[in-house]
């Protein structure tokens, strides 16, 4: 039952945000192994990278995600768990490159033209990364062309658009149109305070989500 043990441990350290041996938090785990050490050891033991990701790391993110949803944890906890996960991922990276395991997918993300609000967008990035997505963050004030360029070099990526202004949200329509014209298969998701489900339908986007968690959840089910 070694396999089960070390994966369970990995899940626990990710959920607790124990990045590596030297990180000071949580205080009562001072000096103990973190996600980095455990992932390295798991590989040594011959556990497949895919199993480490699916049965060790991701369940850890789920635990903290659920705690967060119940109001028992904060975003900082999520971020630190994500860092722990990333530290473990460093060891798995070569296998990603070699194609031995597949990442969940690629998300091209940005705040649309004219709009500089980016905290919401950044949260989407962090939480999707935590779910194993590769996120290409185009930043704020992003034009249709920039989205098009990004998607051209990542043809299987999905796109996430953010807007916080009642004026700039209309630019989501243009981006969606441009992307769909280029490739009708590209899935475009939108979010941000002024946006709504009915607006999403209006502009022909593929989905609206109130927050990153419901977005991530829905992508998991896809």
């Amino acid at each position: 039952m070694m396999i089960h043990d070390i994966l369970a441990q990995l899940t626990q350290v990710v959920a607790l945000g124990k990045i590596n041996k030297n990180t000071p938090l949580p205080a009562d785990m001072l000096g103990q192994d973190g996600a980095s050490e455990l992932a390295f050891r798991a590989l040594e033991q011959g556990i497949t990278p895919q199993a480490i990701l699916n049965d060790g790391l991701l369940p850890g993110m789920s635990i903290i995600g659920e705690k967060f949803s119940r109001g028992e944890a904060f975003i900082a906890n999520m971020l630190i768990s994500a860092q722990a996960m990333n530290a473990a991922m460093e060891h798995l990276k070569p296998y990603f490159a070699s194609g031995e395991i597949k990442s969940t997918g690629t998300l091209v993300l940005g705040t649309v033209q004219g709009d500089l609000h980016d905290i919401g967008k950044n949260l989407v990035k962090m939480i999707l990364k935590g779910d194993g997505w590769e996120v290409i963050d185009l930043g704020t004030n992003v034009s249709s062309e920039a989205f098009l360029n990004a998607i051209s070099s990542h043809s299987d990526a999905i796109v996430g658009l953010s807007a916080l202004l009642t004026t700039t949200m209309l630019n989501m329509g243009e981006v969606t149109e441009t992307l769909k014209k280029h490739n009708p298969e590209t899935r475009v998701y939108i979010g941000g305070a002024p946006v709504s489900q009915s607006f999403c339908q209006e502009i022909g986007a593929d989905g609206y989500f109130r927050d990153p968690h419901s977005f991530a959840k829905s992508l998991r089910l896809d």
Partner: protein, 455 residues
């Protein structure tokens, strides 16, 4: 540069709505802080792209809004009125556009004055475009030039009061906030934001002086209101948002050190601390801004207000009329309460507002007059933004702890653990500004350039 070494208001019972030591006269015969609270009405466009094709429609929206809010103010006989025209990004990027609307609104206000004698003024808030570049250049480059040009053209076009929600330091603060990193928060606000606000308000005051109008004030909206929103969504501990609020006061005070005279901006909930220190009139918003954002400060926000605002509402139809007209009605009635109380027992009404929110949130505690004065007095004991910010956070933390201990304020179970860790984090905050700057560079160096802050 002015430095504040003592308080303008040191007795909590003198920190009260409608009255401030240094009144501001502006616009059409309006005197702010001289005993009355006036409504400051805010509005924005409904879903609509701002471009040349839609320009006529944009203009008609602003005309329609002005007619509606002026009609309602007249019917309800408000004792005075401030309209805030908060520009949208395209209007500052194309400063002539912003100027055209400024001029239009000013004309409506002039007509109101001529027709009814209701004193009034127009606040124009320019969009801070300076974070278009990443990392932001702030003091140079095209977006800085455009931002300042937008101020100049607004002043020319008839603005009576200038304001901005400035963003220097935000690029670091955004990160620090999410990680609940107190050194990062104090450093970004106390060193970076503090320096930027000082520089920027030097520029704005010069323009205001040239056109003989008022340099109003700034707001830490992008900092502590973001924290408040995030706390409201359960992303951050509410106590962290409370500490962040206190931390933002020295940064917003810097505008007054560099020539601003008030009224401060509505969404600057750090206003009462500024009022206690600088003695300037402040604009506040509370339950009246339920159209624009939710908050744990609905009533207590009114305790020291000199203007009372709804922050913003789109020009859409409600059942009664347009939303701006509806919120004009709400503000007018709220101001009647303030001003009627002023004539009899203002403190009783102030305390009612304070006591009604206080038990529910550490964020409300920061706005309690006693706590405000405590934080303010700790700030003026220090010199320079960094030490002031650190002191403000320390004072706020002590206030939260003691209020928690004697049960005056609820702390949610989930955040007790976090609050317990604050003492340790605070003790790790460097005593020297230089050390803190080094920390910022080491931790967030990729997000900002010291040169943008004259460092």
């Amino acid at each position: 540069m002015k430095t504040y070494k003592s308080l303008s208001i040191s007795n909590p019972d003198e920190l009260v709505f409608g009255i401030s030591p240094h009144t501001v006269s502006c616009g059409n015969g309006l005197v702010i802080g001289a005993g009355q609270v006036f409504p400051e009405i805010n509005f924005t466009l409904p879903t609509l792209l701002i471009n040349e094709a839609n320009w006529q429609s944009v203009i008609s929206h602003y005309h329609e809004i002005c007619e509606a809010v002026i009609k309602r103010s007249t019917v309800l006989q408000v004792p005075g009125l401030v309209i805030e025209f908060e520009q949208l990004p395209d209007m500052s990027m194309n400063p002539e556009w912003g100027a055209e609307i400024t001029c239009l609104i000013k004309q409506h206000l002039d007509e109101l004055y001529a027709a009814t004698g209701i004193p009034n003024a127009l606040r124009v808030t320019v969009v801070d475009l300076r974070d278009t570049d990443q990392p932001p250049l702030l003091r140079t480059g095209e977006s800085c030039a455009k931002t300042l040009e937008a101020f100049r053209l607004s002043a020319q076009a008839g603005a009576d009061i200038l304001s901005i929600e400035s963003v220097g330091g935000k690029e670091v603060h955004d990160q620090a906030l999410l990680y609940a990193d107190l050194t990062g928060i104090i450093g970004s606000l106390g060193i970076l934001a503090y320096r930027d606000v000082g520089w920027l308000w030097g520029q704005i005051t010069a323009i205001a002086d040239e056109y003989k109008i008022i340099a109003g004030g700034d707001t830490a909206c992008g900092f502590s209101n973001t924290a408040m929103q995030l706390a409201g969504q359960g992303m951050l501990p509410s106590s962290l948002a409370a500490l962040d609020r206190a931390a933002s006061a020295p940064r917003s005070l810097a505008a007054f050190e560099h020539g601003a005279v008030g009224p401060s901006k509505d969404c600057a909930y750090e206003g009462p601390i500024i009022k206690a220190i600088a003695g300037v009139p402040i604009s506040m918003e509370g339950r009246s801004s339920c159209c624009a954002h939710f908050s744990p400060l609905g009533n207590i926000a009114g305790a020291a207000a000199d203007l009372w605002s709804n922050e913003s509402v789109q020009n859409i139809n409600l059942l009664s009329g347009s939303a701006p007209e509806a919120f004009m009605e709400l503000l007018a009635y709220d101001c009647r309460l303030f001003n009627t109380a002023s004539k009899s027992n203002p403190l009783a009404f102030r305390n009612l507002m304070v006591d009604s929110d206080l038990p529910y949130s550490p964020e409300a505690l920061i706005l309690e007059p006693k706590t405000v004065i405590h934080i303010a007095s700790e700030i003026v004991k220090q010199t320079g933004g960094y030490l002031q910010t650190k002191a403000a956070v320390q004072a706020a933390y002590e206030a939260i702890l003691s209020a928690q201990n004697n049960g005056r304020v609820q702390i949610k179970t989930a955040e007790k653990v976090w609050l317990d860790s604050v003492a340790l984090s605070l003790s790790a905050v460097p005593d020297k500004e230089g050390d803190a700057l080094e920390y910022l560079l080491a931790t967030y160096g990729s997000f900002f350039t010291p040169a943008a802050y004259g460092l």
